[in-house]
Subunit: 362 residues, 4 copies
């Protein structure tokens, strides 16, 4: 349960925010693949904390140590395990949380579920820090997929009321995905990105936080990945994507906009282009009946504003059994949306790599 | 894979739209439970076709025959299997689809995936007809949950641009859920319902279809159901909800609106009410860190307009390898949103019953 | 749980001994395969009851009705569901069992587990009758494997103290497997078979039953099926084989004899034969490290004597809470070993077909 | 796949024999449990190499470092991960194996399966060394079960032709299990133990190895654990037990002896003893219909002689494509049976703890 995910690939994420180490085991990878360590580190740096004003000031190197899974530098069929040793922890910040749950966090239901034994320091196993090992797994999956001509990229689609441009759902290409990934702030439009940064800074100055959305595109997919009903690509992707803390919604293709469309508007007509089957529009987001159509797979997720804010909030004392006021200290991101971008790419990569293996395409 | 789902409950859905029978097996139910057959049939009738103007004219009784799983009229620990014998099939309508995929349907990727062997009649295994056995499983699960004080209800939240009222996410109660369920058109506001029906009728008259949204509430849940990361309640619910054809998005609590909120707006403050822990607002939709908080679990899904429309559409002939024009015949719903309401309730019930058993609450 | 099995293939077995029907759903099959119905029926007849002196007198046609999974007579990618309608049931025989558990049956633990709600008629879901749908699934899997050059056959290796010859673990071929399968009593040596039948008849005459062993061989396998540790071929096969009631042991290759061997005796030396890698002996039974080696996969299972015997036995009355004497009536096999032979072949076929799909070999 | 196992507990085993570290993640444990580290280390020492004449001379401390899963020294609901850093590795021993597979090892099928990329050093992921992390998981599970009154113990039942006494299947108690566990050589009879040691020494002196059997008993179980068909206790235990390298057979209760028994001999009559249901004999080994009966659960496994022997053996050179002679160097156990005893206990403990959680008994 919980932090184990298993299909053709198997993934286990372990660790607590302020424990000695966090890590992951990824099993079922194709053999003979050489992980580009430098590219992986660059990918992890996109998520790593302490590097810019919209991130927590807790700086961690997030440099993975590979314990198993490689022989002569290549994947060898054994499970791939990597750990990151936590360095910059200040558990003293969290003492009060043992009895006073933070609004918007897992503290209260975890307290009930685990009988008060859950690790509260830094959010324990519920911390966003656990997305670091998720990104190790995702980073490796992205590299393997890229070697097969499948590319995945995401960008900050909005923060607060500021909206970025969107990917062109029909024509998005590898170069455009790579261009956004290289930016320090991953928005397509630099102007929108600048306004977003200002929105985050404003939230930070008012001891508040702000939410946003992330759009993700996957290109180069074969036709027919996925299975009907409970194993369609939407099922698989959504089932994993909500593993990223703070995600509260997901939509594929035209998503919630389909609710206001007619069939004649929403249906994507087929045609042949150089012998390949394409659709003229891509409201279906590359998935029909749970199966990939070969068109770009497009989805968007909603990210809630960071729950940890320095303002006073109404809470309860579960030991004393009374209402109280909570003032959270600690180091927090005023907006986690930019750092969640590589997490979304990671989950997408793991789900797609798994489907590729299952479909006999790898 | 595919139409098997397995956790503590196991569910298998089988059948094709125009085959001899469709059905389901549900395993892992608590024993000694008496299924109220009349109530189950009433529930199935909410989904059944051919009963009102917004539904296909294909009328089916959808009366389940229970083959196994009962002894002396009570659940006995053996898998529960029920079948519905298809009656009103006209496969002649579908001959053309063997070579010309319908836009918006699974036809094209299924053709590639199954090497041309997929059943095209009525959409085969991809047909919305497969939601009938899903509703058998769901109807049974709903009855068991109700016997434990857990109630699930959904309504048409919008069709086209017409919006219904929303559930009160903090105070929604059993009576309100039951009231909507009893209506022929499941909208909270009768006025909105009337406008929705007119919207559907307009679509039907123009040989078109229209989409919408469905809101679902689950009340009476204990605190702490679900597991962190990949087995949270959002993961579980979304993983199954996309098993309903035509769903393109899901959001929990405030959903995509969180993107424009600040933390101080979005966080739900805790307080005690008669010794029970509540939140003053319910933007979190009853789930934090993947775990239930005891507040109403609220989610909303987007339903695309029926893909089968009688207008001419651009398609391809996969045998001849050329572009062509498709005119779909057959009997189709101008809007599937109302009939999808019990399907959403069903999926929710199965996921919740499973989590209850897993959590040792049943 | 329970009667659901899921990997790349998914299998659900449903039914109770004296319920209206028993059946199975098998999902994940390759498409475009035509099931040879006549050959399937012949295979099922090898297991069917009421046909010879060593079987129960309950005669059932065991003729499967395929509800779903086929289009134009070929597998179409939808789950394959088949049911057998029970005909010859006499539940009156079982009334006493509601309170007095039969020694050697699941009655007592089932009574505790299901709170007295289990179906006792004919053993309910625990009945050997449930191996009929298992053999439908297995019979289909065997046909698909045979079309790929993989053959599976089993024989009665012993009944009581009478032993059959064994397969030659190195050279066993398709013709030898087919020859045993065609016999009414599936022993390699007709003389041993005759003695076995006499042993069974003697048990029947003394109102008793008798156990035995079954040896199974699988030939034509590629090298490298299976996965290390918990997903090796021994794990997979044993995990399913104990789904056949009455199996109490399984051994692969030299099996328990390895306990008395030295490494130099047990190790199977490699050599090339016409460019193919072979081993000179086959003590490893075609599996090393959980992986197939390409040599015949050989395993043997122990089948206990039928628990239902007409002699008086010591039991308890769970309602009255006191010791009592039980005299079982009903119709029972004096020896189930011969009828279990196609069941063993079926389980082997399902496990191997699944591993073939997983390994991308199909 | 492979080294991931998942039900209510989830277990991942990672590592290679000569890699930097080996380890395990165990998820789903009850919270608030304090692991007795000293008792765990003593348990691990029973398996650890380099401590006595019947073990390899590779000495490893096998002292686990817990990276995650604890808060304030208690299990906290987060996955429990522990690693052991390999110390005493000499990979130079294994160079030749890259092209010449050892008879009786996974080398050849692994070479084909992984395209030559498998780690050959020390057997890589197929090494018996991976049972060290298995014993960490098992040791923790054993402690939790003991706190609930469930005790598990195993002993060397035979080595070569020397046989130990057997557990009394009806009356075996905690004290007897503990007594065997404390011995340096885990045989019930010291005399048999002495002869076994001599048998091992004789094998070692002749550059050979020797096999044996292990008997395991589990006492204190509630009635009704397990599920019918594919999830019975025999299925679960066997499915994991073959994860221990070198196991070639498993039997429950009377096991293969049932083949020569009649029903009247094999059936275990019920009776009440102080209000508890017991059987007079225990040929069923505590399992009927896949469900625990409350009687001691007894099973026996066959362990093959160590495949690595220093004698010359016939093999092939997969690079050159020709037959050759192999002389294995390296440090190996002349008999792994004694060190496999805690591994068998470990697997049993994990399977039982999982079934207890599933059955709502914990």
């Amino acid at each position: 349960m919980a932090s184990f995910w298993r299909n053709r690939l198997s993934l286990s994420i372990f660790g607590q925010s302020h424990g000695p180490a966090i890590g992951m085991t990824l099993d079922g990878l194709p053999t003979g693949f050489e992980i580009d360590r430098e590219a992986l580190q660059q990918f992890l740096n996109r998520r790593a904390p302490g590097r810019n004003p919209w991130s927590t000031t807790r700086r961690e190197e997030d440099s993975p140590e590979f314990l198993t899974g490689l022989a002569n530098g290549l994947t060898c069929g054994a499970p791939l395990t990597a750990v990151i040793h936590n360095q910059n922890t200040r558990s003293v910040d969290y003492d009060k949380l043992k009895s006073i749950p933070r609004p918007g966090h897992a503290d209260f239901p975890a307290h009930i579920k685990y009988g008060g034994h859950q690790d509260v320091a830094g959010g324990g196993h519920f911390s966003g820090r656990l997305t670091a090992p998720l990104c190790i797994a995702g980073g490796v999956a992205l590299q393997i997929l890229a070697s097969k001509g499948i590319y995945i990229g995401a960008h900050v689609a909005s923060i607060g009321k500021v909206k970025d441009e969107t990917f062109d759902a029909v024509s998005i290409n590898e170069g455009q995905l790579a261009a956004v990934a290289q930016k320090e702030f991953p928005a397509i439009s630099d102007e929108a990105g600048q306004q977003m940064k200002e929105t985050v800074e404003a939230a930070r100055m008012s001891l508040d936080s702000v939410g946003g959305t992330i759009e993700c595109a996957i290109i180069g997919l074969p036709v027919g990945l996925g299975e009907p009903m409970f194993d369609g690509m939407e099922n698989r992707l959504s089932s994993m994507i909500f593993g990223i803390p703070a995600i509260k919604g997901i939509e594929f293709g035209a998503g919630f906009e389909v609710a206001e469309m007619t069939g004649s508007q929403n249906n994507d007509d087929y045609y042949y282009e150089n012998g390949e089957v394409k659709t003229k529009t891509n409201n279906h987001g590359g998935i029909l009946g749970g199966l990939t159509t070969g068109m770009p797979l497009i989805f968007k997720v909603a990210v809630k504003p960071t729950s940890s804010i320095a303002q006073k909030q109404g809470s309860i004392d579960v030991i004393k059994g009374e209402d109280t006021i909570l003032e959270v200290r600690g180091r927090h991101d005023p907006c986690i949306v930019p750092r969640a971008v590589p997490c979304v790419e990671s989950v997408a990569a793991i789900a797609i790599l798994d489907a590729m293996i299952e479909g006999g395409k790898l």
